[in-house]
């Protein structure tokens, strides 16, 4: 591919004696829709944490837009254009929904108060939370919290958006809603990595999929080829 947006090379991460990631290498092209699947505990969130900066990788390199970022703190990486949502929503619970989005608006995009509010409202409208703008974040339903997670990542105007199981527990129509938003973001030029367990979402959305198991990549390819792969099936169903 032409210069990749994100290049992960031989990244490893250990916790004590436990190898969460072993020599994982991925290259993601600009504008790509990329799916990451794998059974629980396979290292998906650890990989995301290493990319976003919440964790430091023990070995290997991570390049974003040609620049090595492994030693940068997370907030710098966000300012360079990597945004992520959290698997278990972590809203700023003492703030309103709108204020939640003001944080990235002011700290990543560096907008002034008035502009930031306008931009935040725009994002809320896009994601369908506009009517909850002034509600306290700790009063939202699970679904709304997931949307807030995505909205907060969107408010950072990222180049790369990582969505970590944003659709877990959502109903069919809600999944469609979120997919629509992700497709729209991608059409705007945002590269998206989607971690999901909901296979039909991954299939519909991704152009390329990678499957992780026990910290290693066991398969890479188009959604159809992944699903048909024997290793993948074994990983999900057990040996």
């Amino acid at each position: 591919m032409a210069a990749p947006l994100l290049k992960v090379q031989s990244v490893s991460k250990h916790f004590g004696g436990f190898a969460a990631l072993s020599e994982v290498s991925i290259a993601i092209a600009p504008g790509e829709r990329f799916g990451l699947i794998g059974p629980n505990g396979s290292g998906k969130t650890t990989l995301i944490n290493c990319i976003s900066g919440s964790l430091r990788n023990d070995a290997g390199s991570i390049e974003f837009q040609g620049e090595e970022i492994s030693s940068l703190p997370a907030y710098r990486r966000t300012r360079k254009g990597i945004a992520r949502s959290f698997q278990i929503p972590r809203p700023f619970h003492s703030m309103t929904v709108l204020e939640n989005l003001l944080v990235p608006s002011q700290y990543v995009v560096h907008l002034k108060e008035a502009e930031a509010q306008a931009q935040a409202m725009e994002v809320l409208r896009r994601i369908g939370l506009a009517d909850k703008a002034h509600a306290q974040a700790n009063q939202l339903s699970q679904v709304e919290l997931r949307k807030l997670e995505l909205a907060r990542a969107m408010a950072a105007r990222p180049r790369l958006l990582i969505s970590d199981e944003a659709m877990a527990g959502l109903s069919g129509s809600e999944v469609d809603e979120v997919l629509k938003i992700l497709f729209a973001l991608n059409a705007d030029g945002i590269t998206i990595i989607m971690i999901e367990h909901i296979m039909q979402a991954v299939m519909r959305f991704s152009q390329r999929v990678i499957c992780l198991d026990a910290g290693r990549i066991i398969c890479e390819g188009t959604p159809e080829s992944i699903v048909a792969n024997a290793d993948v099936q074994r990983a999900y169903l057990g040996a």
Binding site: Y75, T78, F92, H134, R152
Partner: protein, 311 residues
């Protein structure tokens, strides 16, 4: 704008009280202490309430401010204003240092480190003859500048000014984007970091400012007492009070520590005088636990529940 008018009025009232012939001296003694706690509680809240990092070392920052003032006075004959500035600067540096060492870690490590600072600083002062060591140092107050009748009254006005300054700083931080970043850190530090908030830098900022204000509060103490010694300067009651007052008053807003300081400070004065010092500390401890368990948002939180604002 309303705030600044109110602040100016408060200062004028304080000055007026000090310059009037009325009221006994004890009032100014007690009021000085309460105002001192306003500064300490407000300073504590900038890091503890806004960002969620509990500083138990208030006594250290406070005492170091006092000792800095002593050194400046003894060595250079420095006037009060310089003493205060010096106290603030040194305590700010202390806050920055401790922060740098421990704010990367979880909150409890920071809290324990602040306890450590108290003991280490106290040990240092105990072993430093120049400032009197364990037995302490007597100080001769300079002459009172007119129009004030007594040094205590003048210190009262100075402390009132410091209190307003501290509250103004807290108010500014709270309302600015810095405040929002601190709140994000308190709510979810990991999410804050991933939303672009430079968590370590903001925490260091809050810790340094907090330390500076505490040092400023401590600087007038040696003049107030004409005396300084380690045991009472590094008294843990300062730490517990600075923690309890915002918890009782409410940590989310700058007015919380003020309420807490006035409430608890007054109770402390009354109890110490009428019953005993020990009971006073017991009262503080019990109130702290009660509020922390039953009314976590403090008095402010209770008000909000009873009279909900339409936002």
């Amino acid at each position: 704008m309303k705030y600044w008018i109110g602040a100016a009025v408060a200062l004028a009232v304080a000055a007026g009280m000090a310059l009037s012939g009325a009221t006994n001296e004890y009032f100014f003694y007690a009021a000085f202490v309460v105002l001192q706690f306003v500064v300490l509680a407000t300073a504590w809240n900038i890091l503890g309430g806004y960002a969620g990092y509990v500083n138990f070392g208030t006594a250290a920052f406070f005492a170091i401010g006092a000792y800095t003032a002593v050194v400046l006075f003894k060595w250079l004959g420095a006037p009060l204003a310089v003493q205060i500035a010096g106290g603030a600067a040194v305590s700010a540096a202390l806050g920055f240092g401790v922060g740098l060492l421990t704010l990367r870690l979880r909150g409890i490590f920071f809290a324990i480190a602040t306890v450590a600072v108290i003991f280490i600083m106290e040990t240092l002062m105990v072993n430093w003859r120049y400032v009197g060591g364990a037995t302490g140092l007597q100080l001769l107050r300079p002459d009172v500048t007119p129009p004030f009748e007594s040094y205590t009254r003048m210190l009262f006005v100075v402390m009132a000014f410091l209190a307003i300054a501290a509250v103004s700083v807290a108010r500014y931080v709270q309302r600015s984007w810095i405040g929002r970043g601190l709140r994000a850190i308190r709510d979810s530090e990991e999410a804050a970091e991933c939303s672009g908030v430079p968590t370590l830098k903001l925490k260091l900022f809050a810790c340094t400012v907090s330390g500076a204000l505490m040092g400023a509060a401590g600087a007038p103490m040696p003049m107030y007492l004409s005396f300084i010694e380690p045991a009472s300067s590094f008294n843990l009651t300062y730490s517990v009070s600075a923690l309890a007052m915002p918890m009782i008053g409410g940590t989310a807003h700058w007015i919380g520590p003020v309420i807490g300081a006035f409430l608890l400070g007054s109770i402390q004065q009354i109890v110490t005088v009428t019953i005993s010092n020990e009971i006073n500390v017991l009262v503080v401890g019990v109130l702290l636990v009660l509020f922390v368990v039953l009314a976590p948002d403090g008095v402010l939180g209770l008000f909000r529940k009873l009279w909900p604002r339409r936002s």
